[in-house]
């Protein structure tokens, strides 16, 4: 495959079958390998769409400063595009995110502002909104509320999946900004009668939820409950176990949020088997495991890995 530049190579990722994890020939599980994007995560799609939309709208001109709350992957994708297109990038990141992500961001020339660990990404969003108000000349693309985020998946990820697997029955992805599920979900619902759209939400330890008042929660502006069929909360223990299972049985080295999505995908597979229905279940490998090596997720017993992850944002 030949492309004019790195940015042009975003998307068109492989969809691979998981013959060992699939329960039967009638109930099959497929992995959409989004780690094969230029900076190694699914976020290359929304990052590119959001930047190009802001350029079309005249918001972004060369030399502009982009501000974004991000736990890492979106920031890394924006940093790559910003470098190639001549923008300055400032990322607001919770301090409890992995060191690899910080190094990568700095490498691509981004500036990092840390937000407190307690409160996780909610807090990063709050800090970024404050900074945006103080600096009206900065452009906040705001992945949680920018329609170009979900449109990137409606226009690229969704069509790729349907072209590769017209018999798709389920789509499973992690729930963060909700952009992947909203975009692919809307695309498939328009074309595949009865398709099930399933969200896998990471359930973190006490620290992330601990200090939030229930009235100060956060629901991304992009979230539309009616697109989803259902939504699972997946513990760190289950996400870790599935991440390792995926590596051990199918050879795929993925990040921990992938284990979260796989857990929900396997749950849907079990339901299909019990109901005697055929199923082609696609789940998203959002990124590879490289950026999480320092978390200790892949070493020692599951219990040890789980203890090390406590208080970290692993997705």
């Amino acid at each position: 495959m030949r492309f004019d530049s790195l940015i042009d190579s975003v998307g068109r990722t492989p969809l691979v079958g998981l013959p060992r994890l699939s329960p039967s020939a009638e109930v099959r599980i497929w992995a959409k390998l989004e780690d094969r994007n230029p900076t190694g995560s699914i976020k290359d799609r929304p990052a590119l769409w959001m930047i190009e939309q802001a350029e079309k709208d005249g918001l972004l001109t060369p030399g502009c400063t982009i501000l974004e709350p991000t736990s890492g992957n979106t920031g890394i994708s924006l940093a790559m595009s910003a470098r190639l297109k001549g923008y300055h990038l400032i990322c607001v990141m919770p301090e409890n995110t992995s060191e690899e992500r910080r190094q990568l961001l700095r490498m691509w020339g981004a500036e990092i502002i840390s937000s407190p660990a307690a409160g996780g990404s909610n807090e990063a969003v709050r800090v970024a909104k404050g900074l945006a108000a103080e600096h009206p000349d900065w452009v906040m693309l705001y992945q949680y509320g920018n329609p170009a985020n979900w449109r990137s998946h409606y226009e690229s990820t969704g069509p790729e999946i349907l072209a590769d697997l017209p018999t798709v029955t389920h789509f499973v992805a992690g729930l963060g900004t909700t952009g992947t599920l909203m975009g692919v979900g809307r695309f498939l619902r328009e074309r595949v009668p009865g398709v099930k759209i399933v969200a896998a939400e990471p359930r973190y330890g006490e620290l992330v939820y601990g200090l939030r008042n229930v009235d100060e929660g956060f629901v991304p502006e992009l979230y539309d409950e009616s697109v989803l069929t259902t939504r699972y909360s997946v513990t760190s223990a289950d996400a870790l176990r599935r991440t390792r299972e995926l590596l051990a049985t199918e050879g795929i080295f993925a990040g921990i949020s992938t284990g979260c999505a796989l857990h929900a995908a396997l749950g849907m597979a079990r339901k299909a088997v019990e109901a005697g229905e055929r199923a082609d279940i696609v789940f998203v490998v959002a990124d590879g495991g490289w950026k999480y090596l320092s978390t200790g997720a892949y070493e020692g017993t599951l219990g040890e890995a789980e203890d090390r992850l406590e208080g970290q944002l692993w997705a």
């Binding site: 939820y209 601990g210 939030r212 009235d215 956060f218 909360s233």
Partner: protein, 92 residues
């Protein structure tokens, strides 16, 4: 008949610091009613006139009850109900 209800840190002032408490009921609504009888004040933190509060998520055996039947979701012995504040999650 008992159902385990996991309580987030922020609401444990209603449960004497307990991380999980038992309650009974045939539906989530009855369960929350029973919780209120045992831990007065808790109900208002979970529901308002419109149903479940916007920033409160309740999971029955890890599945979001908003997709099951809301407050009318049937619950039974051995189930686990988890209450969590809504936060931004996923790989961003």
């Amino acid at each position: 008949m008992a159902i385990e209800v996991r309580i987030p840190t922020i609401l444990r002032n209603y449960t004497d610091g307990a991380k999980a408490v038992n309650a009974t009921g045939a539906t989530l609504e009855e369960l929350i009613g029973d919780l209120e009888a045992r831990h007065p004040g808790l109900r208002d933190r979970l529901v308002d006139a419109a149903g479940l509060r916007r920033f409160v998520n309740v999971y029955l055996n890890d599945e979001d009850v908003r997709f099951l039947g809301g407050l009318g979701t049937p619950v039974s012995d051995g189930d686990t109900v988890t209450v969590l504040p809504a936060v931004a999650g996923g790989a961003r």
